[in-house]
Symmetry: C2
Subunit: 219 residues, 2 copies
């Protein structure tokens, strides 16, 4: 078994999130940006991860995850999301309070712990933000969700996920009633600034392009 450090795990997770369908290579700068570090530091780490066969790295051409790297990343994401469910379902945290804590808890390394936790939580399928939880074999099925910004006029759907996990954003959603499970209908798209006018149960409200891009809908 390859053993990975706290820092290495964060790099793997960042690379995973930056290449969702593993479509194309992730750039050094993109990783630096995501991890709030410097490009030179990223290059150092990429060499190390390549030595461990966790990424495919060719100088100046960015990186992709190897099979091992991808499985490692999915394992960390599994832990992250299960801990988030625990915090919300069992300890009464709000969905906007759990992300930072899960960033630490995800590095606790015990298969028995995480499998027991999963059972204790009743094998949840998604985390508090609607993100799918990989199973213990590392199988992750991404649901097909579209951001509000890509919906058409008069199209309806259920809020089923968010792209952004910050407290600031989730708090705003909470306050405006844009929570998971809510049915929304697009009434109008303002071409000028990309904002969207949506209808909920009773009310109608306008959200900015930035907000519309980060709310995910099952249509």
């Amino acid at each position: 078994m390859i053993t990975t450090s706290f820092t290495e795990e964060n790099y793997l997770k960042a690379i995973f999130h930056l290449s969702p369908q593993e479509a194309e290579a992730v750039s050094t700068n993109a990783i630096a940006e995501a991890l709030q570090t410097k490009a030179a530091s990223v290059t150092d780490m990429l060499k190390k991860l390549a030595d461990k066969n966790l990424i495919n790295y060719v100088k100046y051409q960015g990186v992709t995850l190897t099979h091992n790297g991808r499985q490692a990343a999915i394992g960390i994401i599994r832990k992250h999301r299960l801990w988030e469910v625990f915090l919300v379902d069992k300890l009464n945290f709000k969905w906007d309070e759990v992300h930072e804590l899960a960033e630490d808890l995800e590095h606790i390394n015990s298969a028995k712990l995480i499998d027991s936790l999963e059972a204790f939580l009743g094998f949840p399928k998604v985390d508090p933000h609607g993100d799918p939880i990989p199973d213990k074999n590392g199988v992750l099925k991404e649901p097909i969700l579209v951001p509000v910004s890509k919906m058409n006029i008069n199209q309806t759907g259920i809020i089923s996920g968010v792209k952004e996990h910050s407290t600031l954003f989730l708090n705003y959603l909470e306050k405006t009633g844009l929570v998971l499970g809510k049915r929304v209908k697009v009434q109008d798209l303002i071409e000028f600034d990309g904002s969207v006018i949506i209808a909920l149960d009773k009310q109608v409200l306008t959200i900015s392009r930035d907000v519309a891009k980060n709310i995910l809908i099952a249509v």
Copy 2:
């Protein structure tokens, strides 16, 4: 607020455990032994902890915890023991499987998390090994327990704690039925090798000096 690293926290906890009633100074070598490291490394760290006002350190004279250091240590012990209760009560771990995992979990830093966990667990007073859990204000009341090795012939009492947390030891206790809550009576003390003959419900068994020293009794 003073922020402490993973490693610093382990040093503080080790010093705390080595000077229970803060009676006397803890030696460099004792700390090295407890943390499986070298005396030279300990000296390095002692200087750092002294700079942070967490210990009183005089060259060649060992260390004691300051008020801050003691409170920090108790905070970590609180987390350690609450996580152990969680693992046993909620995730069905055995009492001999939780210590190592708690060594990691105790460094997760969130007052809200640990206070919520405590409430979720129903404010337990002791952990799975009978050790008392400090309250959120850092008050820790040690029960008065005596090791079997210090009991007199015909004296009885209830097994209420263990000094050693290793899987090997706890497993042995489990197998011989020497678990928390069990009533025991000392039948005989063998002066030759310090072993002790004890009576349980039905059976009578002999335990070695080493075992007798590590089982704690409320008399």
